[in-house]
Amino acid sequence: MDMLAIANLQKRFGDKSVLKGLDLSVPEHSVFGFIGKNGAGKTTTMKTILGLLKADGGEILVSGEKVVYGQTATNRHIGYLPDVPEFYPFMTAPEYLSFCGEITGMSRIEIKSRSNELLKLVGLGNEKHRIKGFSRGMKQRLGIAQALLNRPKLLICDEPTSALDPVGRKEILDILMAVREQTTVLFSTHILSDVERICTDVAFLNDGVVNIQGKLSDIKSQYRTEEYVLETGNEEELKLLMNVFAGLKKSGMNTASFRENDHTLFDILRFVTDNRIRLLKIERVEPTLETLFMEVVEK
């Protein structure tokens, strides 16, 4: 069963239509990357899932239960990390976690052990100060800790790595990857390397709808381009090649790329051997999410 299923979700702000019939299904135990450019509506979608925004149309099911605006019953399944998490500045991190734990009805012993464990996990184990003095990255870490506190079935993170340094980013990604055993993770981002690092599934949000979604590996093979790059020993050799093969596009001092349907790989290789051109490299280009993203956005 899908942990989260969204059907035909619509949302307008005034006369501006942000979500125009968005469909999304997040399978259980996946790490789901939700990709879209600034202002695409990622945050809007997440807030609607949490019942913080009222949808203009469509339906959202969390673990099979319908989400109703204002009534937050489905939220007991969800751990949420907002894009800019805001905490009570007069509390310390452990105090905040115990506040959250009491709200969700955890037992005192459980709160204590779980918050110790989580604070250590996110690297705030020795932080005794009040949240007032926390940096953005520290707040992000505390945000992850509070989201994981009651072992949610679905973890929703809105750009969890945006405020973090490279080390912190890796740590947080590792955490998200590690919790996959127990929960399903949905996170939004525009850092595509993060997605490639940890996601099992992705969805691209563009112009109010999800254009592409599915297993990351499936999507990659589906969009595999027939593009190659080659690198020769020097510029003259490249020129020689380019004179014969008009479809070669120069992309560097002595590198060029071509598509399989312009020239076959074998023709080029034959020419290379016949003319004894020194070939430093020839490789097939793997589609990156970046090229995919560009394709989706430009369509």
Binding site: L52, E86, F90
Partner: protein
């Protein structure tokens, strides 16, 4: 129930750590001391100024003050206490809207109505404690200096004023759910009280209005009977309940 307590604990922590509770207590202690002090000092002040007053043609006869003068001060200063209270506490909801701190608590499954209940309880509790603290101090001094028994309907009159304060607290809660800004809360609450006061200038309407409850002087001097306040009391209590009752559905639909 547990989540309600957790949220109230958070409110309490906030009031204590931000120093608001301390400021409130100090204000109400000062007011409590000021009431008898001003009454006590009046004859002395008049004596001091007697010479200059006589020079301008006024004759000063010896004034004797009683507990009544101190209670008159009490009812004069009570609005100041209430205004200070509302100024300090009017941001109890709006600060959370502006900083977005409620989002995480609500997405943790905290029922929205518990937010309203917690804050309403805290406000009611604080108003009650501060007000009666102030009263007790004045009462204590009055007993020491004079005799409280000459004030008629004393307890009834201070209870009336306390009830009026409760209505203002309820209005604050209601306008806090309607408005997103501190100014909106203050304006809404202030205007409602002002409207009640203005309508009260019409003699026939007076006995139905909550602002009548602020007139403690008439009660302690015995110029009116306690019975004539009963209608206003019912209306005040009813209005307070209605205000709170409206706050819940409004807050449930609020965009945070």
């Amino acid at each position: 129930m547990k989540s309600l307590l957790a949220f109230m604990k958070k409110e309490w922590m906030e009031q204590v750590r931000s120093g608001r509770l301390l400021i409130l207590v100090i204000i109400f202690i000062l007011l409590g001391i000021m009431n008898p002090a001003v009454a006590k000092l009046t004859p002395w002040l008049l004596e001091m100024m007697a010479d200059s007053l006589e020079a301008s043609g006024m004759t000063v006869t010896a004034v004797t003050v009683s507990a009544l003068d101190s209670w008159v001060q009490f009812f004069k200063n009570a609005p100041m206490g209430l205004i200070a209270f509302i100024l300090l506490e009017s941001s109890i909801f709006t600060k959370e809207y502006q900083s977005g701190t409620l989002v995480l608590a609500l997405t943790k499954g905290l029922d929205r109505h518990k937010v309203v209940i917690s804050k309403a309880i805290i406000l009611t509790l604080f108003w009650t404690v501060c007000y009666w603290f102030c009263f007790t101090i004045t009462f204590g001094y009055n007993t020491y200096f004079w005799d409280n028994s000459i004030a008629q309907n004393l307890f009834f009159s201070v209870i009336c004023w306390w009830l009026f304060g409760l209505l203002v607290v309820a209005l604050t809660v209601l306008f806090s759910t309607l408005s997103n800004s501190n100014t909106g809360v203050l304006a809404g609450t202030g205007c409602t009280v002002l409207v009640s006061y203005l309508i009260g200038l019409i003699p026939k309407a007076k006995e139905y209005l909550p602002t009548l409850l602020m007139d403690g002087n008439s009660l302690i001097y015995g110029t009116v009977e306690a019975r004539s306040y009963v209608t206003a009391i019912y209306i005040t209590v009813l209005l307070s309940v209605v205000c709170l009752a409206i706050s819940f559905p409004v807050f449930n639909k609020k965009y945070l």
